[in-house]
């Protein structure tokens, strides 16, 4: 079909279908249900034309066969057991058993059905077509009663969902093993189970003009800063987009600095981590359909911390954190430092090492910059392949990656052994901390490599300075990104590179502006019994 034909046919469509889906949904606004059930069904059937998954089930009321009833629900979203047992069976068969002899008129029908007919724990009434359509699409079951312009919405949702499993992106050795799933309500329930307090508020929004995705923000009232809560709400409400398929959409639409390579919104799939964030005064953003939950405001140091840091004993944790910070630093600068030293400042190496590196590099045809750049690229390709490849062929890739590319590249004289060591160590280091921060580190690594390849250690220093200046100016929902390091909040420094024991972390972090200043009482340090029993 030629383009003009498509357009011609398009013109023939009924007027309401011509509008975009958004305008179509808006056109339902203000439209009310009719008293005549036939009209209502016809109306809904036009709306759900060609939607094979919408089920219309018409039947009559057992008490009075004059009264027609209709159930409308989405196949797969409504809990079929509940719909057939608690609604249909009740109305079509069992009602007479409950009140034998009594005749219900058309006018009484709605009240009676609500009070005695339905065995559903959550019902709602509406007379708006738009709400009915929304309810059906969200998985609720709508009951229409003849002679009434009111529909009953039964909350009998039930669909196939993934079971709660181990967190895959943030594995832990010690700590809760559950992770969020794709269903919003399951996710909020996981959070509610961690914080059993009425001050845990979960406010719902609907975002997405076509998808009407459920979005919820959670915070602890009295702990989180009201100004930030308001800011989060405003930023979410100003989103006008067709669909939200993942929290990533929201993240990009509410960021403070969209052009920064650094993530200013944290995300996690662990309920315990979200709970910890809320307790420090942050705000969580849930989106239906994704196990990743956003937390704001977020600081740079968060990305270098793991939730396990707070569960393992503090001495060990502090040591591990120091290692992690060093690894993060290495993942950013090690290749560029290697390039700078090998191509400009050989004298920095101790003599024995210098000779060894020089001997390795003698047979390599390329300049160090090109060599490292190439190997980093190879590593990035391997990493990307590792994520994308179908599981069964993982073995093949690791053999090709490790043996062919690594070992043979050295034997063939393409790269020096030292380069492989540097690239491999850098690659491993970048996996020691939060994934989204490591992405930005990896990106900036290439930028630094170019600088140190051209200007040596001077270029490297300048590059790091540029990154630092950028970081110093970053903010996440008004909170300086580098706090508590700069601007310095001294009492917060006990939870940055090291972690103080729990009994010493009396104050909540001051870098997140909240209201709950103290998170525990003083004098929590364990003591031996006083009278030496």
């Amino acid at each position: 079909m030629r383009g003009s034909d498509i357009k011609k046919n398009h013109d023939k469509l009924p007027q309401n279908r011509l509008k975009t889906g958004v305008a179509y949904m808006e056109s339902l606004e203000g439209k009310l249900l009719d008293e005549n059930i036939e009209k209502n069904i016809k109306c809904l059937k036009t709306i759900f034309e060609k939607c094979s998954d919408i089920i219309f089930r018409e039947f009559v009321f057992a008490q009075n066969e004059q009264i027609k009833l209709a159930l409308i629900y989405t196949d797969g979203l409504a809990d079929k057991g509940q719909v057939s047992d608690q609604i249909m069976r009740a109305l079509a068969l069992e009602v007479p058993m409950a009140v034998p002899g009594r005749v219900i008129t058309k006018a009484q029908a709605l009240e009676f059905i609500k009070e005695r007919g339905l065995c559903i724990h959550q019902i709602k009434e509406t007379n708006k077509v738009g709400e009915v359509v929304n309810a059906i699409l969200s998985g609720d079951t709508v009951l229409l009663v003849d002679g009434h312009d009111t529909a009953i919405i039964n909350g009998a949702r039930g669909w196939e969902a993934r079971a709660i499993t181990d967190p895959e992106a943030e594995p832990t050795v010690r700590g809760p093993r559950e992770s969020f799933v794709e269903s919003l309500r399951v996710n909020t329930s996981l959070l509610r189970r961690k914080i059993k307090n009425p001050n845990l508020k979960i406010e719902s929004f609907q975002v997405g003009r076509l998808s009407t995705t459920d979005v919820a923000i959670a915070y602890l009232e009295g702990v989180a800063n009201p100004a930030i809560i308001k800011e989060v709400k405003t930023r979410i409400e100003r989103i006008k987009i067709d669909a939200i398929l993942e929290t990533g959409y929201i993240e990009e639409l509410i960021e403070d600095e969209p052009w920064s390579p650094f993530p200013t919104v944290n995300h996690t799939e662990k309920p315990d981590r979200v709970a910890a964030m809320l307790l420090e005064g942050r705000i969580a953003i849930f989106v239906d359909g994704t196990p990743f939950v956003l937390t704001v405001p977020s600081l740079m140091v968060e990305f270098l911390h793991a939730s396990e840091d707070y569960y393992e004993r503090f001495i060990f944790t502090s040591a591990v954190r120091i290692v992690r910070y060093l690894a993060a630093f290495a993942s950013l600068v090690l290749p560029s430092l290697y390039i700078a030293i090998v191509s400009y400042h050989h004298e920095l190496l101790p003599t024995a090492l210098l000779l060894s590196v020089a001997a390795q590099r003698e047979k390599v045809p390329y300049p160090a910059f090109f060599e490292v750049f190439l190997m980093e690229l190879v590593f990035e390709v391997l990493r990307e392949a590792g994520i994308r490849l179908p599981r069964p062929i993982g073995q093949a890739i690791s053999i090709v990656g490790a043996l062919v590319l690594g070992d043979s590249a050295v034997r063939a004289g393409f790269v020096a052994e030292a380069t492989i060591i540097v690239v491999a160590f850098t690659g491993i280091s970048s996996f020691t901390f939060h994934y989204s921060a490591s992405i930005s580190f990896r990106l900036l690594r290439f930028f630094l490599m170019i600088l140190s390849g051209t200007l040596g250690i001077f270029g490297l220093t300048i590059g790091i300075s540029a990154i630092c200046i950028h970081l110093c100016g970053l903010r996440s929902f008004g909170v300086p990104y580098l706090s508590p390091v700069v601007p310095t909040a001294y009492s917060d420094l006990k939870d940055v590179v090291i972690r103080a024991p729990w009994w010493a972390m009396v104050a909540n972090p001051r870098s997140i502006p909240g209201h709950n200043k103290k998170r525990e009482s003083f004098g929590m340090k364990p003591m031996p019994p006083e009278n030496g029993e």
């Binding site: 101790p350 024995a352 001077f458 220093t461 300048i462 300075s465 630092c468 601007p487």
Partner: protein, 363 residues
């Protein structure tokens, strides 16, 4: 909102400390050794005393006209036209100083790091980063400085300690004290007084942004004392290592660090110290650029200083290439002309303003 950037006293203290240390750490030992010989360290300590007096003058001005920079209160005191001329002079000083520091920097890079790379490459790259910092605002500059400070101070401490291990090190080379008379030391102290301590006059552009400007005197005095101790000890060490030869090096600190050999790992590490110097010099240039840009903004009553940051940076870079022909000329200028030239801005201008103001108050 951007105009109300408030700085804490700690931030300004470290900014000043870094400002004083930046080029002096590497240039001062040779500069004072030329005339004061082995007593250079004493000249620096004397200069620190004078510097504290100078900073008292600046702090007095700052407290008297709290919340206003020198550009603004000069117009209040001397009237609009003479005040504007003074402001223009002050802005020129910031520009010139920035260009000189930038030039020192570039020269140091070319001589000690990459002899074949043209000077303009270093100067423009450094200026680019300084402009970036200034563009982001004073608060960001202070935070950046605070981030660097631990690195810089620890490295300087390590350098000072490790220099004791140099085989040539002999504290006896510092003796006899004041061999050529005390007056020579006194005369020499003019050099460190005007560079770096007197250069603190640029902080008159920063004090109004402090949340507690009453601290200005303490802060400047503290920064001068701390930086003087560091510079004096490194100066004494160069003499202890090189003896009377110390004055023959252009960058004697750098040459001394090259002599450190420790445990076969810590040797020939002079390149790493360049990193420190780049970092702290970057701050000094940024402060100069900020003072110039902010000065111009207030002088010509512009709304925002951001649009003129890049043009000013280009002017400063161009000036830094033009000021000298070579390093020898720079050394001559720094020791013979700079002390007297800079006193106009560092002493005369503020002194004139405060006197005028006091006289006006009396009548």
């Amino acid at each position: 909102m951007k105009e109300e950037e408030k700085l804490s006293s700690v931030q300004v203290f470290f900014l000043a400390l870094n400002f004083f240390l930046a080029s002096a750490f590497i240039l001062m030992p040779s500069a004072v050794a030329a005339t004061a010989g082995r007593d250079g360290w004493a000249a620096i300590l004397i200069a620190a005393g004078a510097g504290i007096l100078l900073s008292k003058l600046y702090a007095a001005l700052c407290i008297r006209f709290s919340g206003r920079t020198i550009i603004l209160f000069a117009q209040d005191i001397a009237g609009e036209i003479p005040g504007k001329i003074m402001g223009l002079l002050f802005a020129w000083f910031a520009l010139h100083l920035g260009a000189l520091v930038l030039r020192n920097f570039g020269d140091f890079m070319v001589i000690s790091l990459m002899p074949c790379t043209p000077l303009i490459v270093f100067n423009s790259v450094i200026m680019l980063i300084a402009a970036m910092a200034v563009y982001r605002g004073l608060e960001v500059l202070c935070r950046f400085n605070l981030m660097l400070m631990p690195v810089i101070l620890v490295s300087m401490a390590v350098i000072i300690i490790f220099c004791f291990t140099i085989p040539n090190f002999d504290a006896a080379k510092l003796l006899p004290l004041f061999e050529n008379g005390f007056s020579r030391v006194l005369k020499t102290s003019l050099i460190p007084m005007t560079f770096p301590f007197g250069e603190g006059v640029l902080f008159l552009m920063i004090f109004p942004n402090m949340s507690n400007s009453g601290d200005a005197k303490k802060i400047m005095a503290g920064a001068i004392i701390a930086s003087a101790m560091i510079i004096a000890s490194i100066t004494a060490e160069t003499v202890a290592v090189f003896g009377s030869n110390a004055k023959n090096f252009v960058y004697s600190t750098h040459s001394m660090i090259r002599c450190i050999e420790l445990a076969e790992i810590f040797e020939r590490t002079d390149t790493l110290t360049i990193v420190i110097w780049i970092l702290s010099g970057l701050i000094k240039i940024s402060v100069c650029l900020y003072a110039f840009v902010k000065g111009c903004t207030q002088l010509f009553a512009l709304k925002d200083y951001r649009p003129i940051v890049i043009p000013s940076g280009i002017i400063m870079t161009a000036l830094s290439i033009l000021v000298y022909e070579n390093v020898i000329e720079q050394t001559e200028f720094a020791s013979k002309i700079w002390p007297f030239y800079s006193l106009v801005f560092e002493l005369l201008l503020p002194l004139m303003l405060i006197t005028l103001d006091s006289v006006k108050k009396v009548f």
